[in-house]
């Protein structure tokens, strides 16, 4: 392989995917107090994939780096990446502020440029806001090719073949590095992190930066006016027999 791989994986700390989110009293967002947070599952898949690439291409991978944009607690999700074999990590500390996809992309652009990464693997979307924009906008800002919704990634030298999930089937694309890949569910099954690795990860470095250090300001450009639950579905009715069912259907037609 001619170019050494320098892989960046952005990870986000989100409300646990198995929990049912509740709207806060002010109806401006989702209730976060007393709620369990975990790594965004699509990002977990991205982390797993990067670790798999490192294991499969020993010597060809120069560096695995994880970055998270969030408050200090986002360190938890960086530790997972470090425990899964990442070398280094960066926390871009924005406090409790929400950061919109465009700003996220701009921050990531600077991180990529600062450290010369040539492959970015990231979740296709975060399950809290479901924007599904960051990977695509990052590709635009960097002017790199992008392979979204990946379900299989094969690396051979400088070229990467990605199978993408599309409606009703799969699409295979091929591109040369540098490249952006966004992950879909079927790409891999993240493994459990073992305790010895978790303990080792505690000793690995987490660099902390402010967005200003990267020359990006994170002002909010969108305003959430109101968040509402979807209307509750009306209860169905029971019919006594087939005849009544047929009669009801006729009424509706």
């Amino acid at each position: 392989m001619s170019t050494k791989l320098r892989i960046l994986v952005p990870v986000k700390r989100v409300i646990d995917a198995s929990l049912k989110p509740r709207i806060n009293k002010a109806q401006t967002g989702v209730e976060t107090k007393g709620v369990k947070f975990s790594i965004n599952p699509f990002d977990d898949i991205a982390v797993e994939e990067a670790a798999k690439i490192k294991a499969a291409h020993k010597g060809a991978v120069e560096k695995l780096h994880a970055v998270s944009i969030g408050g200090t607690k986002a360190q938890d999700v960086l530790r997972i990446a470090l425990a899964k074999g990442f070398d280094t990590s960066t926390l871009v500390d924005v406090g409790e502020q929400d950061v919109e996809p465009l700003q996220v992309s701009k921050i990531l652009q600077k991180v990529v440029e600062k450290d010369n990464f040539n492959l970015v693997i990231l979740g296709k979307q975060a399950i809290d806001d479901d924007s599904n924009q960051t990977g695509q906008m990052l590709a635009g800002l960097l002017n790199w090719p992008q392979a979204t919704n990946a379900s299989e990634v094969v690396i051979e030298g400088d070229s990467v073949t990605v199978t993408k999930e599309i409606d009703g089937g799969a699409e295979t694309v091929k591109a040369k590095l540098p490249l952006i890949i966004t992950t879909d569910l079927r790409l891999n099954e993240p493994k459990f992190v073992t305790l010895p690795k978790m303990m080792k990860a505690k000793k690995k470095p987490i660099e902390t930066l402010k967005p200003e250090d990267l020359g990006v300001s994170v002002e909010q450009r969108l305003k959430v006016l109101k968040l509402e639950e979807p209307p509750v579905r009306k209860a169905g009715i029971k019919v006594k027999d087939v005849d009544e069912l047929v009669a009801k259907i006729k009424e509706l037609i």
């Binding site: 198995s18 790594i39 399950i127 073992t194 959430v224």
Partner: protein, 523 residues
């Protein structure tokens, strides 16, 4: 922030895999072996039908149909199959009639009638019992509580929860979860078992370590006696010292003294944050050290401490068909659950505990759940063992209490004995597939399971009374939480003294003089 329900739902397809696995109902698990379950009376010819009991006539069915609506009196052979057979596929009765009352009054009328006519009755909840206690032995009428499934009331200040006996445990717990409370009992069969059945069998389960036994948490019961009398203590408060605590008689009576129709139980606040560590250990000694250390260092947040041996995880691998959480195999596994109200505090404690137990060599390897999905998956590797034990076609289950230091020796002794008798092996020639041990170390409770390809007399003779004698010698109890039912009724003497048994028999004669309630079982 916007929530897009669709993508979350799509995502759930994968994340909730473990949940899907967990909710595999009992019924399909019966179908992986097509063998017909032999009738209990054929397997155990020494048990004979008590001829004092009347055989069911069409007049009786007619009477039942006066008490209940027609659809709640099942007499069709195909409808009866599910109720006649236990989920382990070990026992099968030949009841001709299932009654599904909806009110306590109906239960009372049914029992009054049956008592007068001397018709034997077997009360049945979710039919998830493990000792053949909830299925008929001969032609007893099955009284299913499944239609008594309403939540009566919940006081969200005191935590006192009142409900019908036929409410499914998981549904009761989900209802409480919405109110910020938790049902003080949790067990593998929660998706099918009834709270009434849980109380009747004094089920212990996974969280006894934290919330104690039902003898402490049940505040009151509504019970129908054999003659139809309704004894209602549902009004009871937490403290009530006005004489004998009669409800205690029915907790663990296995349907032989009365039929529980309502339960009032004290529920604690639901812990906000739960975490799970799944560990691999080298020896049973290490498991004990790990338990001592967990009690010392995790203290008030420790909510479960479960152990499993290598063979039990081996069967679970075959059953669950997913990658095991730990890459390598270990002789023993431990699952530790912490529950608390402050995540940072709980995590820090768990982390310190795990680090020190790894450093001092008690624990070889392990993992901690990183999210809710992993948490459920890890639990499933413990809870799934019970179902995995039936993978070969059947299982002999022994649920016993033994002083901790000797707990695992019973598994080794049983394994050795079956090996000597040449009954255990990898091929179909051997009836026994595996001897596995797992359970609630925190409560000194071992589940010894002998997974078999078929039920045979040789295996049974090899195990019984050997297992009971062994337990008696080591000062244990032959039934820690499953009850005696049909399987262990002859062995009560290994744990209870003569005078204790005498008192039990006196009580039985007093409250059920005709012996119509769940005959051939318990005593």
């Amino acid at each position: 922030m916007m929530i897009n329900p669709t993508s979350r739902a799509v995502f759930g397809l994968r994340v909730n895999l473990s949940r899907c696995l967990k909710s595999i109902p009992r019924l399909p698990s019966r179908s992986y072996s097509q063998k017909v379950v032999p009738l209990t009376k054929e397997t155990y010819p020494s048990t004979v039908r008590n001829q004092a009991f009347a055989s069911l006539s069409s007049d009786d069915i007619g009477e039942f149909k006066k008490i209940l609506s027609d659809k709640n009196v099942l007499t069709d052979a195909s409808d009866l199959e599910f109720f006649n057979e236990d989920w382990m596929r070990k026992y099968r009765g030949e009841s001709k009639c299932v009654l599904k009352p909806q009110t306590t009054e109906q239960v009372s009328q049914i029992l009054k009638y049956c008592n007068e006519k001397q018709i034997a009755v077997v009360p049945q909840g979710g039919n998830t019992g493990l000792v053949g206690g909830s299925v008929p032995v001969f032609d007893e009428v099955i009284l299913s509580l499944a239609n008594m499934n309403k939540i009566r009331s919940f006081d969200n200040v005191s935590g006192i929860f009142k409900l019908d006996a036929g409410v499914i445990l998981e549904i009761a717990d989900q209802y409480l979860a919405e109110q910020g409370y938790i049902f003080p009992l949790d067990l593998g069969a929660k998706g099918s078992c009834h709270v009434g059945g849980n109380v009747a069998c004094n089920a212990g389960g996974l969280r006894l370590l934290r919330y104690g036994s039902l003898h402490g948490s049940v505040l009151g019961l509504e019970v129908v006696l054999a003659d139809g009398t309704i004894v209602d203590s549902m009004h009871s408060l937490r403290k009530d010292n006005t004489g004998y605590d009669t409800k205690q008689l029915f907790i663990g009576s296995e349907g032989t003294l009365g039929v529980i129709t309502g339960v009032s139980i004290l529920c604690p606040a639901r812990p906000k944050f739960t975490n799970i560590a799944f560990l691999g250990l080298e020896s049973y000694e290490a498991v004990q050290h790990c338990f001592t250390q967990a009690k010392n260092e995790l203290g008030e947040i420790l909510s479960a401490f479960e152990f499993m041996d290598e063979d039990s995880q081996d069967l679970a691998r075959k059953f669950i068909k997913q990658t095991h959480p730990l890459e390598e195999s270990y002789p023993f596994y431990v699952l530790i659950e912490t529950s608390g109200s402050n995540k940072e505090h709980d995590d820090a404690k768990l982390e310190t505990f795990l680090e020190s137990s790894m450093e001092n060599g008690i624990v070889c390897d392990g993992t901690v759940a990183q999210d809710e999905a992993q948490l459920k998956t890890l639990w499933y590797w413990r809870e799934g063992v019970s179902e995995a034990s039936t993978i070969g076609g059947g299982v002999y289950k022994y649920d016993v209490s033994i002083p901790l230091k000797d707990l695992y020796s019973l598994v080794e002794a049983a394994r050795e004995r079956l090996e000597e008798a040449n009954l255990i092996g990898e091929t179909d020639d051997f009836p026994v597939l595996r001897v596995i041990g797992y359970g609630h170390i925190g409560d000194g409770n071992l589940h010894l399971n002998v997974a078999v390809r078929r039920y045979t007399k040789e295996v049974e003779k090899c195990l019984e009374p050997f297992v009971y004698e062994w337990i008696s010698e080591h000062h244990g109890s032959i039934s820690a939480e499953h009850g005696l039912g049909f399987q262990k009724k002859n062995y009560i003497g290994y744990t209870k003294t003569e005078n204790e048994i005498k008192v039990i028999k006196q009580l039985k004669n007093l409250y059920d003089p005709n012996g119509i309630l769940n005959p051939y079982k318990y005593v």
